[in-house]
Amino acid sequence: MTAPTPSDHRGPAATRLLRHLSVGGAVAPLITTIVAFFVGGLVVLATGKDPLTTYKAIFDGTGLNWLLPWSGDRALAATNLQQTLINTGPLILCGLAVAYAFRAGLFNIGAQGQYTMGTIAAVYAGSSWAGLPGWLHVVLAMAVAALAGAAWAGIAGALRASTGANEVITTIMLNYTALWIGVYLFGLGGPLQANDQPDVPVSNDIVGGAKLPVFWGDKDLQGLHVGIFVAVLAAGIFWVVLNRSRLGYEARAVGFSPPAARSAGIGVGRTYVVTMAICGLFAGLAGSLDILGWQFHLATNDISASQVGFLGIAVALLGRNTAIGTCFAALLFGALSQGTSVRNLDPAVFQPELAQNLTTVIQGLVVLLVSADVLLASVWRRRRARAGGGGAAAAPPTPTTLGSVSP
């Protein structure tokens, strides 16, 4: 009944953003995406190309046209879709790694480093222990990778809990640390560098039994491995943990109000550590999917070139930190990078080199517009509160409406 007061909007930036982002429907992210593509179209126009044909070509390159059975080359579409989905799996997991932290009021900028630790652990586990039965080897390698990510993220959580060090800073620094650990391990003369290629900064290949089974397409030509199911399953687990488990309930309580959580007997510091470790599980698992699914080895330039953990931030923001939203946002970004890849885009339509930059532009715009989206949401809410039509003060908030975060 009382008017919006400024005190309601105080608190850590993460908590404030969380309050805006954690609830809300699909409308705002959709608008965000459309605007991003529209502005991207203007960029295409500025280069003197036709935005519509460019987008059509990119769309065909994603393989999503496979879903439209009447269109074009089925085999090519299938191959492209396989690649899109290979991209999507780790993006889902990295998105979850960021989203879970968000729901507990933490900014996990460190999915990239956690992912890197996952790849390192996966490539080590996959290239050792050669005698194991295949399925056990795969599961073990994935578990080791997830734990490596969890331990890495746990460092940031423990620092936050014990010294109050801001996790934004520590996770960014841990990203670099992970990168250079990888460069050291697989660099020339490094302890894990390939035995049979002394001149190449790369790891040993993982053994055949540690590879994820391919269920669609040619297993020797990078067909679709089962990692996408692992990722979707993880999204389901994310939802259950967050919404149905004591762990997630306590994490959300801490995210919204650390003093209230503490007063209720929830160990706030412990929750920070556990939350970050869970984030790391997701990101580390993402690393194992790439290694066991299609990379099979890890070169130092793979580590420095990888962006999937950073993309996870955009995925989580666009997906509004929900399980389902993260899956769709990951599919969008996975498809974009596939659709604009060099071999898929006809240079006559749009130069692939530019197209990859276009992807970056669109991704950047999405992140930028998410803040505008927050603005939009708050303007919307204020208007509703003033007009009083089903205002937040009286009606129980329904999680599907934009204005449901009561003032």
Binding site: M1, R246, F256, P259, A260, R262, A393
Partner: protein
Amino acid sequence: MTPPALQLSAITKRFGAVAANDGVDFELRRGEIHALLGENGAGKSTLMNIVYGMLTPDAGEIRVGGEPVTIGSPRQAMKLGIGMVFQHFMLVDVMTVAENVVLGAEPTKGALLDSRAAVARVRELAGRHGLSVDPDAVVEDITVGQQQRVEILRALDRGADILVLDEPTAVLTAQETAELMTVLRGLRDKGTSIVFISHKLSEVRAIADRVTVLRRGRTVGTVEVAGPNPPDEAELARLMVGRDVLLRVEKAACRPAAPLLDVRDLEADDDRGLRAVDGVSFDVRGGEIVAIAGVDGNGQRELVEAVCDLRAPVAGKVTVGGKDVTGRGARHARDCGLGHIAEDRQRSGLVLDFTLSENLALRDVDRRTRFGLLSPRRMLARATDLLAEFDVRGGGPQAAARSLSGGNQQKVVIAREIAAGPRVLVAAQPTRGLDVGAIEFVHRRLVAERDAGRAILLLSLELDEVRNLADRILVIFEGRIVGELPPTATEEQLGLLMLGGGGATSARASAA
């Protein structure tokens, strides 16, 4: 005859199905202090937010100085000479008083802020209205009472001759309240018309010329307070709540049993590392209410936090029902049977963005899970029962805690803590900011829990509450218990101890 400064006729404002204001009439005469009295959620703030252009009414008419107006924004309200001071100040903490006052209407020299002119303007304004405040002080360094003056000055600086204050005394100490009243009387005598929103009967009787009472979104009536036959508090309370209210709790004689809470030689530091609790020992027996009285800031907060294991004690021991809970964490203390009604319900009592159902599970979620999983269905069922039992209004179990009024929020906290079946209940300022109806509810409930055999430790700054509820009163001064008094002690006796007189002197002398 001059038209009233502000006249509201048949104002209606709905939020969904609920009418926050339902045909409200209100008239503010020129140069009067007019109190707007009502329970939490009666629609006082909504009405004044309409006047200030923060909300638009669904129906009704607003006249300012006799002219019908529509007020679409606070900016328009300011143009019409309406200023508002919110409960939560809207000041920039790191800027000076003068900078805050002129913010939005800064005197400039070319493109630059003319800070000398700003200071001069604020000093002149403050002098003219008798509001002493240093224009060069930084806002975060001055007291809450002074910050409020800055807000008032800002409104006056914009040319306000109608001043609306939303529960201005909720954040003030008794001394600051008295000063505010002097200031307001001065403003009135110079011709400012003042709306004073409150739910505190004594204040309203002290300051207002007239009172308009709102109940559930409707005007109950307007009463002359300054006139020859002023209404007494019981009469105002009846108007406000719609029934007779017991301003004093009725309770049977205390029948204390064995001690359930035992505090021995407790020492704790405040956030700055200074000793705040300095060797406190006492016990609370089952079936009695022990109140700790004292002037704010004498270690009460740190004492509560140390007892509830939210703050690590430096030394000493706390036992609940014979079990040592010292320094083992809040959850352990709670598992041993300690309940805690937190001092700041919005900050530590509730997770405002959680639903009521989630909030009610906050304390004992670990005991309500199966294989680590929650059952939303059972949580909802339990919440529905508790909300009914504790008469929480304003939303069902799925409503966000944020959307409830203060009194109902407090009922949720109390429901959660009592439902857990604690042996010891620590109630820190359980009625702060509540209206008489809600206060009566809380008091009755605390007495009922006492009679059910629980040990209740009450911390309160309200002497009336302490004397009303307690079976024994302990007085705290500078982190020490300086005396114990029966509830029959007079206010003077209590006051003397609270200010360090009497027992305190001898206690310190013997310690030295």
